[in-house]
Assembly symmetry: C2
Homo-oligomer: 364 residues x 2
């Protein structure tokens, strides 16, 4: 793809007045809005202690139905540590997860380089892990990690029955089950379950505080009290036990309060928007019917062709579809949609005319 | 020490109107003051990229006279990574440092548990590393770490000539020299050198952004361009490559601007204040003449005795000396002073009468 095509796409996106995805620009205003509610005299946390961190951790533990929750600067740190604890407990440095797990493709192999934990890859890349994949596991592992939804394939989900089967199997076999719930709250409307009902199937759970919730950064790792205490020791080893984490804590708490009840709305909006994409002859979404606030939009033409075409559509319609495209094959490409606060403020007729334009241009 | 004594000490400290140490309470106001200067539209950094992080890193690289500087959430993370890079380069997982190095006593053995790097301890606990200790090193190491000033023994320093000798020795022997400069800016007035002059003796350097500078949290790791690039890969592995670090970056930059030129003042204030302590018959400072903004205050009585006595002095004088005491031996104890913005706003006569009281009570 020529620089010019991707640059044009990015520039055209940045010039749009409305965007389909997200909560809006990640800028200083996001932090400042959260802190407008906070007195100057609110004491900082101090190396994991203090009201501001302990109260938030307690709230998250209750919400997630676990004995204890620990705040981490990042999910990368939280999940490596979770898996390390389970591996140490079993004295077996092997875990199993999806080939497109965040740990496998986005963390510079931290799990292997820092913790010397080997990964067994479950299922093919283009589908979620099924119960059959678990049964077929030939190697003994300390822990299985499930990511709900599976982000890299558009945010797909196994059925709830599959989760139950996997959970029961793990308990029978003495294998720990860890939930990569970066977007856990976002899938609850589809499962029609509470967070605690889902996490009850897992021994440990990570959730992100800046995806659907839209905080500044940060993550929660939850589990038993003993698991949480061990994770704090590893947090210090990783260099994540900062003297002050309150900028993230306050923001996470503020936006959780603002957005937790909107997950159903984001989910319905995603389904509505996916229909619009699928109504375009040469465009389709993955999954076809979203099961969370996210999905991927696929095109059957090469990336450079779609980039210049989408740049035009964005320029003419004033609606921002995407700032980037990812190659699927040499002949096809896609981008990701995550519904947040921005979608429902767009006038319906503006969306309709943007899609009319998209359908026309992609058919040519 | 009974809970009651340490509680009394803490409570009496918190009730004081003036305090000798620090810049003031670490509370939400610290963040909010820094962000009052910032437009809502300032874009966030994004996984280590973007104007707000790149500009700050460039500024710090220049200030430290190194090719490149990388922001880290914590010094724990920054230093482990620095040492790991040097160990990998030499294919030797061994480093040497002071027995009271932060890495040895405050990081839950992250260096050993995560990086499998062994430590060789230089010098006795109660003194700084001298050139003789380096010459006497019997084991080959990839890197030597020097902490300036040596915090756990009151912030003592080797002479500048010793630094030169160690640096030359390391270059001759092909051993990397890393600077734990958590409080580097704070020792420059004593050495009468610029930061770049001191760091020129080292291959890599870490500085803290919340000690003398008084930011919210965060650290800088600086060195060659190649070293910096490698450190970013390890930062991701550690889970420190957050989507947004701007709360720390903006605060560090703001308070650096506010306090960098005050280091000379803090240093002179520390020397003045140490004199007052040493004028009390049963009290002494370590070092006797401070070489930075910090020193330890030692008492030749047991911790519980001094705690209740200091609580009274604080209550009567309204001057906060300390909120805690550390046992030195069963029969002696100490606390730490780090001069910041709070000291010079205290009326001189209030300090004098507090010391009169301290001298009277400790003699009894």
């Amino acid at each position: 793809m020529g620089n010019s095509d991707s640059d044009l796409l990015k520039e055209s996106f940045e010039a749009t007045h409305f965007q389909l995805s997200g909560h809006g620009k990640r800028n200083a205003g996001v932090l400042k809005e959260a802190f407008d509610q906070v007195e100057d005299t609110m004491p900082s946390d101090h190396y994991g202690q203090g009201e501001v961190i302990e109260a938030f951790q307690l709230k998250m533990a209750k919400l997630l139905g676990k004995e204890a929750a620990v705040f981490f600067p990042s999910g990368t740190m939280a999940q490596q540590i979770g898996l390390r604890i389970w591996c140490d407990e079993k004295k077996l440095k092997k875990v199993a997860y999806h080939p497109l797990s965040h740990l496998e493709i986005h963390e510079e192999d931290g799990l292997k380089e820092l913790h010397h934990i080997h990964s067994v890859l479950l299922a093919e890349k283009n589908r979620v892990i099924e119960f059959e994949d678990i049964i077929a596991l030939k190697e003994e592992v300390a822990c299985i990690l499930l990511e709900l939804p599976q982000r890299e394939i558009g945010g797909q989900l196994p059925t709830y029955e599959t989760l139950l089967n996997i959970s029961n199997w793990c308990r029978e076999k003495g294998v720990k089950l860890h939930l990569d719930g970066a977007r856990l709250f976002e899938v609850l409307p589809h499962y029609k379950k509470s967070a605690a009902e889902v996490t009850a199937l897992f021994d440990s759970v990570y959730i992100s505080l800046y995806k659907g919730i839209g905080g500044i950064a940060g993550a929660i790792l939850a589990g038993s009290r003993d698991f949480a205490e061990q994770s704090k020791v590893w947090k210090r080893r990783h260099g994540g036990d900062l003297i002050s984490l309150y900028p993230y804590l306050v923001s996470a708490d503020y936006y959780l309060g603002k957005r937790f009840d909107k997950m159903e709305k984001y989910f319905q909006d995603a389904r509505e928007l996916a229909k619009q994409f699928n109504a375009c002859e040469e465009v389709s979404t993955l999954p076809l019917v979203p099961v969370s606030n996210m999905f991927h939009v696929h095109f059957k033409q090469p990336k450079e062709q779609i980039a210049s075409l989408l740049a035009e559509v964005q320029k003419e319609s004033g609606i921002g579809f995407t700032s980037y495209l990812q190659e699927a094959t040499k002949e096809s490409c896609y981008f990701e949609i995550s519904i947040g606060d921005l979608y429902h403020v767009i006038p319906k007729e503006k969306i309709d005319s943007a899609f009319l334009l998209l359908n026309q241009r992609t058919r040519l």
